[in-house]
């Protein structure tokens, strides 16, 4: 049995344990009394507050029961916020008015366009009203594929869909004017195959700007999830084993040297966007997470040290399963980490970032996308996501323009700050019968996928047999067929169609002169370092061949070499990824 089978078993065992405890609470008077006393203590500790219209409210909503079986069921099956198995929430208090004062803010706005200075300006615009500094970066195609902007055939792609980063100097321009060492600052980067190179550039740029001593205070996340790239998103450069090695090197380096950094964000977003069902998204994402945990453990890293540095990223669409997806994922992760990996409490908590679904947005009558995103935001926050990005309504056409990016940001503020749904009481929705029924169904379906992959030999073996890819493609195809047939109503597309012509939407595009400027900057950098670069690349090659920590060397290599030069050097050593259909 692979690790995945053991995890599915552990969840089953835990569920049977909860059921037995419920029976015991009902049969054993002493246990019942103990539970009642504990429950009374919990309830009396809940503070009170009131709505602006004067309705008194508890700060935490708990099941209104005194029955020992129900108490056991809640405490063990769902858990108080911030307590095992974390179905309710990862932390004790989230989103409440009082929490806002502590400076933690869930909103992240993903931005990236044009050259570094353009994205820098967008960051400044979006962070004007933020209570804390949250910068989330999208990169352009050439950067995502580890290519330099002067690579043949990529000119039109420079600065499209994200920012163009070729060198450490671009990285400096990207974050100019922001104090990233502030305690409430956090930077997120959606970057995968070249993640080690890009993070090394980030560190090198921060050293230049803030001094080497302050690097350890940098906080943020880099996606670096290569398994989901092979399964769904297709931004892969190196063969799988080499990709995973570079990733583990980076994680191992970050744990002691960047203690506030999340060096991997295990992502279901792209799996769902490629067509997976919500259950498949959760099953593949969690199983990828357990695979990373296993790889790092097998390299000798301590699960209690790297565990708290793993974070997750899920898509949230309009399907009903999204009402509970985050809750179910937290529960499975906690049980698997505790009972299979022996992790301590901090390493059991699944920290979740959510993004509303890009695939759910359509071009026809695109202003309806504001409503779609608003509903998805609501679903994401009902799951107590730790952070969230809301998409812009104009995304079917373009990288978000300022106007719609701001509307997307205000959507979150309206939900969290203007509406009363999340300001006063934690867990306003948890425990509803529909939610519980869905949770059970979704959990059991996820474990079913785990068992299927287990019979194929685990995640990586299944991946080599194209299991995840075929499942995702099959679901994507079914989804399209359902849209064509009308079985899935899409307002404005296959239902209530107005046939109004597509609107004239302003586009955020990168001008050819800017694209040429990026190429000129890169060439100037290469000229400046022409003498030192070959030695730096030779050292990188030596470390890679010798099996050393590649990331530790990259932090130096990026001082004199461009992204494309480094990619070519590493490909020369480890070979090139062979894509799967």
């Amino acid at each position: 049995m692979s690790q995945l089978g053991k995890i599915a078993d552990a969840v089953g065992t835990y569920n049977r344990f909860v059921a037995a405890e419920v029976d015991r609470a009902r049969a054993d008077a002493a246990y019942a009394a103990e539970l009642r006393a504990r429950w009374a203590g919990i309830r009396s500790a809940v503070g009170t507050t009131q709505s602006p219209s004067g309705t008194p409210l508890p700060r935490l909503a708990l099941p209104d029961t005194d029955e020992p079986g129900a108490i056991a069921e809640y405490l063990l099956g769902q858990g108080l916020p911030g307590e095992f198995p974390y179905a309710t929430a990862a932390y004790r208090e989230m989103y409440l008015d009082t929490a806002a004062r502590t400076g933690e803010e869930p909103m992240r706005l993903f931005a990236g366009l044009g050259l570094a200075e353009d994205t820098n300006a967008r960051f400044k615009y979006l962070s004007r009203h933020q209570r804390s500094l949250r910068l989330s970066t999208a990169f352009d195609g050439p950067t995502l594929y580890g290519l330099d902007s002067d690579h043949a055939g990529v000119l039109g792609k420079i600065g499209e869909g994200g920012v163009a980063i070729d060198t450490v100097e671009d990285m400096g321009r990207l974050f100019a004017g922001f104090d990233l060492t502030r305690p409430d600052a956090s930077v997120s980067m959606t970057m995968n195959a070249p993640a080690p190179v890009i993070l090394a550039m980030f560190i090198a740029a921060a050293k230049r700007r803030f001094g080497p001593d302050r690097v350890a205070s940098l906080r943020g996340t880099i996606q670096a999830d290569m398994l989901k790239e092979v399964q769904a998103q297709n931004e892969v450069i190196f063969p799988v084993d080499a990709s995973l090695r570079f990733l583990c090197d980076m994680v191992e380096w970050c744990v002691p040297n960047l203690p506030r950094w999340y060096p991997i964000s295990i992502s279901g977003y792209h799996i769902a966007e490629a067509g997976a069902t919500p259950v498949q998204q959760a099953a593949f994402t969690l199983s990828n997470g357990f695979t990373y945990a296993g790889l790092l453990r097998d390299r000798g890293a301590s699960v209690n040290q790297f565990g708290p540095r793993l974070s997750f990223f899920l898509d949230c669409g309009l399907d009903v399963e999204y009402l509970v997806l985050g809750r179910v994922c937290r529960r499975i992760w906690a049980i698997g980490m505790r009972d299979v990996f022996g992790a301590d409490a901090k390493a059991q908590v699944l920290k979740l970032h959510t993004q509303t679904s890009g695939r759910s947005l359509i071009a026809a009558e695109f202003q309806n996308n504001l409503t779609r995103t608003a509903v998805e935001l609501m679903l994401a926050y009902v799951n107590y996501t730790n952070s969230c990005h809301s998409n812009s309504a104009d995304e079917p056409f373009t990288t978000p323009t300022e106007r719609y990016a701001l509307l997307a940001s205000h959507g979150q503020s309206i939900l969290l700050e203007e509406s009363g749904l999340f300001r006063h009481t934690m867990n306003l929705f948890g425990g509803a019968p529909g939610l519980l029924a869905l949770e059970r169904q979704v959990e059991s379906a996820i474990l079913g996928v785990f068992r299927e992959m287990d019979t194929l030999g685990g995640v990586i073996a299944a991946m080599e047999q194209r299991y995840q890819r075929s499942k995702i493609q099959e679901s994507g195809h079914r989804l399209e067929t359902q849209i064509y047939s009308g079985e899935r109503p899409i307002i404005g597309l296959n239902k209530y169609v107005s046939h109004e012509p597509l609107p004239h939407v302003p586009l955020a595009r990168t001008s050819p002169s800017k694209q040429r400027l990026q190429v000129e900057r890169l060439r100037a950098f290469k000229r400046k370092h022409a003498k030192r670069a070959p030695d730096a690349l030779q050292r990188l090659e030596n470390v890679t061949r010798a099996g050393g920590n590649v990331f530790g060397e990259l932090v130096t290599t990026v001082e004199t070499c461009s992204l494309g030069q480094i990619t070519a050097c590493l490909t020369g050593v480890v070979g090139q990824f062979r894509p799967m259909v």
Binding site: L155, K157, N234, E235, P396, F397, G476
Partner: protein
Amino acid sequence: MAVAKTPRRPAPLRILTAVPICDGHDSAVTTINLELARHGIEIIYLGYHQAVEAIARAAVQEDVNAVGLSSYNGGHIVFFREVVAALRRGGNGDIPVFGGGGGTITRADERAMRRQGTDRIFFAGTPLEEIVAAIRGYSRPARPNPRFRGDRVLARALTIAESGGRVPAVKRTGPGRSFVVGIAGPGGAGKSTLIDELTSRFLRHQPAGRIAILANDPSHPGSGGAILGDRVSAIYAQDDRVFFRSLATRGSLTGLSAAAPAAIELLRRSGEFDLILVESVGVGQESDPFRSFGGGQPLVDATLFVLAPHYGGLIQLQKIALLNGADYVALNKCDHPLAKVAKAEIQARLDQNGRDQRLHATTAAKHFDPGVDALFSALAQRADLAPAAGGERPCRLEVTP
């Protein structure tokens, strides 16, 4: 030897589909591929993150009716223009380019793209029937065209052979004497990967030579369409010294397209290729596809049988006819836990044959695998491929496919 004539039947359209460089969004294109194949069209799928030159090269070698590009992360105006320009530069401007990109390609973009040579853009929400009907409009007679140059001449001759027409005489353009290797094995044994790795060795060892690959893949029995996806994982075929052609079986049950004998003969006669690798569809027990044509005359100069360790035990092994006939046997996926036992069992099976059949243990999925090196050396020796003066030259591999 006379080129065998193949029976005439209506030839399906052949369409090349791909996603542009630095773009991994393949959800739309895989759905379209499936739907077009379901409507009887042969799709040659090149994959995502594809460079302009790779698309133009594949379009020429596959002699497709049209090229379809699915672009979702911007830069489409420049990219489509460059694909059209690359086709025109090689005298292949007759191959139309169409595409789509959901909402990312605006009406204004479309007008600019059409002015620059793109034939058609399909917008979000276009009914599938409309797309299929438009693509059917790319049908054209398979005839020789005196204006064609280079690989396109050969590619068109292959199209004519495939459609059952009279195969034209192809001018001998190279001096070479070709050595043809037929490669067969059960589905999932890793034939395509092994062929690609052999290709990389060829490019490295033969600095001036050319290699041809004929990849046979099954047609869908109902619709007659097919998704020919071997190019996706053929990363070393991105080189002008590699001529890669995908052949759908179109109802032939032998493991090869009925046009394969004519195609092999055409490739041989061109004199262009030092080595020709012919990949059968997944076969094993029943027959040897390379000896079942031309009245017992072998189609190929040597045969390579590829299998993976999970063939199902000794009894299954006894039934595999190809193990009797194959000149070379490769046990691939040797990183599999069963490989050690498999190797001993197969060796014992080959010893029974009492012929000089060498068993090669390979792990083609591993880059720079020494087992593949040894297999290539054996084939090169048999094919009499001498390293050119000046020794080895690194293959012209780009960082990206």
